[in-house]
């Protein structure tokens, strides 16, 4: 069964930001469309609309010309739309076959029983179709990331999906596994499936896709056949017209680096990273999904294991080696996911803000906390950062995304950090708060602290970073400074296409 997917004028808006603005795309049966765009350009929103997670305000989705209502994830399943996610939903101790057919277990002879043999045969067939040699009876936990992905694809095919959407599938695959993946996509294409392939790697788009579509700020800015377009044209579509160079930096950056990382290693992901944190400098760390940015941060702070490399710290007493624990104490770390490790959701706002600097409020031998002082500081922080909250005693969980992120910032500003590490500081934040956070980062750098900025939003990187290190395949691939930080160069560097044929 083959199908054509058509999205007509789809618009989806969130408070303060228009995620999708009247997007119309068509994918024929047997066509692979490459969907590209920077993070936040609307790719994931588009996917969620197709997946029945978001209902668009305007526009609709058609399959084979027939209009389809996608209100719940199960509607997408029934419509034959399948997703290959970045983090895979699977059950480690169940076998491959059980993982594939968990929601549609084949009935056995006796009532309620599962015909494991039939499930394994069907799984074997589906995997065989994709040319994979994975044993259907093997427990999922023994499979590699690539193999797990193949199982997820096989599950989609086995469910009779005609439209398959790949969400940056190749980022954590080895070369061998990438080739296997490409072979599978070509096989699906030959069987007449309509495929949307989302990726940052333009070489993959050129090699695999028939057509391309570029999203920027929620609007479809360009589409057409891959054969008739050059890579630089696509890059330009992705980043928009060459932005003017970043505002002249007046900040004085200089002196010996406060922190030097050399040869930082972590099995499988970091292969010898060297970085210098200078005083008063916003150092950007740019890389694609899964290139190891968060892993680098967590390894040097001792939150995850580090398998090699050394760190030296330079304060007025000259440079000396520094341990993970001491570095964590000197560092303010705005984490990637505030709800899991950024905030105490059930605690009051003031308790969140004072959590990092409790010593300031502790008096006397028993280190008794001066709650009044804590609350006073919290109230002043709320005003300084204009955090919209019913009161400083409100539970952090009751605040909007933007205000929650400001509380996290307030928590760290309270400590006047020497080193500030920001991991996707403006993700899920409204535009207003985004600007304010940007100003905050600027003022912190001005006051002399060394800032490491990790963000996937290219405009933010270009606007804020004094210097950008590009991380690819576990090493620092290249560096850009001052005026040479442009979106085009960053995208190219991250994608490993450098200036070869720009």
């Amino acid at each position: 069964m083959t199908a054509t997917l058509h999205m007509e004028g789809v618009t989806k808006a969130f408070p303060g930001v228009k995620a999708l603005d009247c997007v119309s795309i068509t994918v024929q049966a047997g066509e692979v469309m490459g969907l590209v765009g920077v993070n936040g350009a609307g790719k994931s929103t588009l996917m969620n609309v197709l997946g029945g997670i978001y209902m668009p305000e305007e526009g609709h989705v058609e399959i084979n010309g027939r209009r389809v209502e996608l209100r719940r994830p199960s509607d997408a399943d029934e419509a034959g739309i399948a997703f290959i996610h970045q983090e895979l939903l699977y059950f480690p101790t169940l076998t491959v076959a059980e993982n594939m057919f968990i929601s549609r277990l084949p009935a056995g002879r006796l009532p309620f029983t599962v015909d494991k043999r039939a499930a394994q045969n069907r799984a074997g067939e589906a995997l065989g179709q994709l040319g994979s040699a994975i044993r259907p009876s093997a427990p999922m936990e023994t499979l590699s990331v690539g193999e797990k992905q193949v199982v997820e694809i096989a599950r989609a095919v086995a469910q009779g999906a005609d439209i398959v959407i790949f969400d940056e599938p190749s980022s954590s695959l080895s070369i061998k596994e990438k080739d296997a993946l490409f072979a599978i996509v070509r096989k699906l294409k030959a069987e007449g499936k309509a495929i949307i392939y989302i990726s940052h790697f333009l070489d993959e788009i050129e090699e695999l896709c028939d057509s391309y579509a570029v999203l920027r700020n929620g609007r479809l800015v360009g589409s057409g056949s891959v054969a008739t377009v050059t890579r630089s044209q696509i890059v330009e579509l992705i980043v928009g017209q060459a932005m003017s160079g970043p505002a002249a930096r007046k900040r004085k950056i200089g002196g010996a680096p406060r922190l030097t990382l050399s040869g930082i290693r972590r099995d499988g992901i970091l292969h010898g990273i060297d970085l210098e944190f200078k005083r008063g400098e916003v150092l950007g760390l740019w890389g694609l999904l899964g290139s190891g940015r968060t892993e680098l941060i967590r390894s040097i702070l001792g939150l995850d294991p580090m398998h090699g490399g050394s760190m030296t710290f330079n304060d007025d007493g000259g440079s000396r080696p520094i341990g993970h624990r001491e570095l964590l104490e000197r560092t303010a770390y705005v984490t990637e996911n505030r709800r899991t490790d950024g905030l105490f959701l059930d605690e009051a706002v003031w308790k969140n803000i004072s959590a990092t600097t409790l010593d300031q409020y502790a008096a006397g031998r028993m280190r008794v906390l001066d709650k009044a002082a804590e609350e006073r500081t919290a109230i002043s922080m709320i005003e300084r950062l204009t955090i919209r909250t019913p009161s400083h005693r409100a539970r952090a969980a009751n605040l909007s995304g933007g205000n929650q992120q400001k509380v996290v910032f307030a928590k760290w500003l309270n400590r006047k950090p020497e080193i500030l590490i920001l991991d996707e500081p403006t993700r899920g934040v409204d535009v207003g708060a985004k600007r304010e956070i940007g100003e905050l980062v600027e003022s912190l750098a001005d006051s002399g602290s060394s800032v490491l900025l990790v963000t996937s939003e290219i405009e933010e990187m270009v606007a804020l970073a004094d210097r950008v290190a590009v991380i690819r395949d576990g090493v620092i691939a290249s560096e850009a400074k001052g005026e040479s930080i442009t979106e085009a160069d960053l995208m190219a560097a991250a994608m490993g296409t450098e200036a070869a044929d720009a």
Partner: protein
């Protein structure tokens, strides 16, 4: 086909306990000549019957990532029902007792799955309440079971293997069959692995948990009924402290407290036999009865340490 290192380590952890079981049997065989005899193994079978029945049900609940500490009291409630229906035919008496177990299991399941209460604390409270209710009925005294049932307790297959042990073993095997062969069993494992993903994919999480608790209630009731049959009377010791012993046996047998991993057969069976054999083995050597709690505690500690490693390997 090359087996990767992880695979070998996984098998080592999975079947480590069966080796330990064999080792213990070997040690006791050497140090006490009356250990490795048919009649002694019949005694071991009888002694493990009651713990085995209850532990089988507990395994299913643990696989879903929950727990049920009320199995000891459920056994006593069932035994009390056996006393209340003493003059009815044995079949009716057993049915009534198992019915009570089912009712308790459904109630436990409703509280944990539908009301969302923490299963450890809730079943801890229910453990006291159920035993209180049964004691009100028996006024704390020893009651006689019906004649028919008492005779059942003595039956032996081929004159050797006690029927009650076979019943408990049958319950365990049926539960293993459900766990491995039915849709419900796959759902339990999925829920234990990752409840959110299971719910997202459409697994009926609440109904599956309710079924697990119901079966656990029935098997706990079976344990109490079998004991009433074996002794011919119902004492207030029925099921006392059985919940902690059952948790220990199930964890020793390889079922993980993190959920998603475990087996009634051979896992829980091995765990129960291990505990009972150590107790019996020490008995044949005339070792002072005060040593058993020590050995049991150390064994549980060792089992959960391995469980933690197994899951840290999985979750890191």
């Amino acid at each position: 086909m090359h087996e990767s290192m992880i695979q070998a380590k996984r098998i080592g952890l999975e079947y480590g306990f069966y080796l330990l079981l064999l080792a213990i049997v070997a040690v006791f065989t050497v140090i006490s000549n009356s250990f490795l005899t048919v009649s002694n193994f019949v005694q071991i079978a009888i002694a493990s019957t009651f713990l085995l029945a209850a532990a089988a049900g507990l395994t299913l609940v643990l696989v879903t990532g929950e727990i049920d500490l009320s199995i000891g009291s459920t056994a006593y409630v069932a035994a009390t029902i056996v006393y209340l229906t003493a003059d009815a035919p044995a079949g009716l008496s057993i049915a009534a007792a198992l019915g009570a177990g089912l009712a308790i299991g459904l109630f436990n399941g409703w509280i944990v799955a539908y009301l969302g209460m923490n299963s450890l604390l809730a079943t801890l409270g229910l453990m006291i309440a159920y035993r209180g209710v049964a004691l009100v009925i028996t006024e704390g005294t020893v009651k006689q079971a019906g004649e028919g049932l008492a005779d059942l307790g003595q039956l032996k297959l081929f004159g050797v293997i006690p029927l009650i042990f076979l019943t408990a073993l049958a319950i365990l095997l049926v539960f293993q069959w459900i766990l491995r062969k039915t849709r419900l069993g796959t759902y339990w494992l999925a829920i234990g692995n990752n409840e959110d993903s299971a719910r997202k994919i459409g697994v009926p999480v609440r109904r599956a948990k309710l079924a697990a608790y119901a079966l656990c209630g029935i098997s706990a009731a079976a344990s109490g009924t079998l004991l009433a049959g074996y002794l011919g009377e119902i004492t207030t010791f029925t099921g006392r402290g059985m919940e902690f012993q059952a948790v220990a046996a199930v964890v020793i047998g390889g079922t993980s407290l993190f959920g998603g991993r475990g087996s009634a057969f051979p896992g829980t069976l091995a765990g129960v036999l291990l505990l009972i054999i150590i107790n019996n083995g020490l008995g044949t050597r005339g070792v002072s009865p005060f040593v058993y709690p020590f050995v049991a505690g150390a064994l549980i500690f060792f089992a959960i340490y391995l469980d933690a490693i197994k899951n840290r390997a999985r979750s890191s």
